[in-house]
Every structure is written in C-alpha cells, then in structure tokens.
Symmetry: C2
Subunit: 147 residues, 2 copies
C-alpha cells in the first residue's frame, strides 16, 4: 500500500518543498491507489479540502510529479491526459480505445536495442502506448456489427 508520507519523503529527498497544496495532492493520489484521473477531476477533489487552491498549481504539480516518476501520465486518446500513481517497476500500457480501461504491460521495447548509442542518439526516455479493444468491448463490437 502506498503511503502519502513516503511520497512526501521522496519529494524532500529530491529537493522539493512540502506545501499544503502538495500534501493534499499526494494524499489524494495515495487514496485513489491506481485509479486514473484527469487534472480536472483532481482539482475537484482537492478543492474540497482547500477551496482556494489554483488550477495552475494543480497542473504544475502534476507536471513535477510526473517528471520525477511519482505519477504516470497517459494519453487515452480522449483529448485529456490521465494521471495515476506510478508503480515503480518499469512498464507500459495497453489502452482500450472504447472504454478507456488500461492494463500495465511489462514488455519493454528498449530491451531489444542497445540504448547507449542507438543510431547516434543517447537514449534517455521513451514512451510506448498500445491501443486496442479490451475483451468486453471487443465482444460488444462483434455483437453490434452483427458478426
């Protein structure tokens, strides 16, 4: 189970300050566990505890927390980003194009290439997102198309 105190410790270690706003944000993600939420949803939750927190503060913190890998940010293809606590093992995502459900996958393409000096690039980051239809949505598609 992920504790917000541990997340705070990690922030401090990396030289960030623990503000009231940050505490609330971290606490929210700790409660949500692995559920994905948008910046808007986070803002609505957070504002209950501190009505004067600003939207730009939410965005700025999402950005920082994503950069230092406390959060994971994905594009489900709906024009909005989704965020959730990052399980620390390196992974990528399968994303259902219909219901938005995601599944972590532990397959990583970089295991298949030499990252040190690949095509004259020194690789430091990468992003693999695989889109498709989950079992349930696939079933619905087959039914509705009469197959």
């Amino acid at each position: 189970m992920i504790k917000n105190k541990d997340l705070e410790k990690e922030l401090v270690q990396k030289g960030y300050k623990i503000t009231r706003q940050r505490k609330i944000i971290l606490d929210t993600f700790a409660r949500l566990k692995k559920r994905w939420i948008t910046a808007q949803e986070l803002y609505e939750i957070v504002i209950e505890k501190n009505p004067k927190i600003n939207f730009s503060t939410v965005y700025r913190n999402l950005d920082i927390l994503t950069r230092i890998s406390i959060l994971c940010k994905i594009d489900k293809g709906q024009g909005v980003y989704y965020y959730s606590l990052n399980n620390k093992d390196h992974h990528h995502h399968l994303i259902c194009k219909l219901c938005g459900k995601t599944k972590s996958i532990h397959f990583c393409p970089l295991e298949y290439i030499d990252t040190e000096n690949f095509q004259d690039f020194t690789i430091v980051e990468h992003k693999l997102e695989i889109y498709g239809y989950c079992k349930e949505c696939m079933k619905d598609r087959l039914v509705s198309s009469g197959k």
Copy 2:
C-alpha cells in the same frame, strides 16, 4: 518524390472531397517534403495562398490526414504537435530532447508480441517514441558540463 496529385488521389479513394483548402494543405506538405511543422506554421503558410482559410479547417484536416496515415504526428515534448508527410513504411521516431531533430527507426515493438490477442486486448494501434540526445547535442552537453 511525393506529388500532391498522388495524395489527392488517395483522399478521393478513401471517400474524401478535394476542397480548395485541402489542395493547399496537401501542396504545402508535398513541397516541405519530410520537414516537420506545427499547425501554426502550416496555417501561416497556407494563409498566404488563401487568406480566409480557418484555423479549425487546418486542425480538422491535420487530424484526418493523420488518421489515414498521409501525415505523421509526433509530440517532441515541446507542448505542440509536429506533422510531416508519412513515409509509408511502418516506423517510429527517435527525437532529440534538445534540438528536436528526429530520425525514423524501423524497429517496431509489435514484432515481438502476438497482436491478435495480447493480454485479452485486440491491438489496433500503437505509438513508440524514443527521446534522447543526438550526437551533436550530446557533444555540447559534455562540453558545457565540463566533462
């Protein structure tokens, strides 16, 4: 060499109409060859030829052309999307985090998994972007950090 007439033919085949606006957009990409541009840059070029073309038309066409794989859309991590003509062979990109230079790579992670029914998902799309430093930028980084 890519001809705008060929691109128009492809659009017609797929059931899209050839409008004045679309002609200008396709023509622009054909001229630019493989150069990456943003929606804003495209708009500025396009408006020279038809001053009353609308921004939403530009965005809508970029979207359609990307969907049908005439264009390729990438996130260079600068908060803006870049578009260019898609070379038809399936590929992904290496992107320099400093100068934004890109390089097509012909390595594809899906060659390593069974896409038909991977973890109960039926895969239909995917996106792999690899970020790093190109040779030149890496050299500059080493110099500036005194190594």
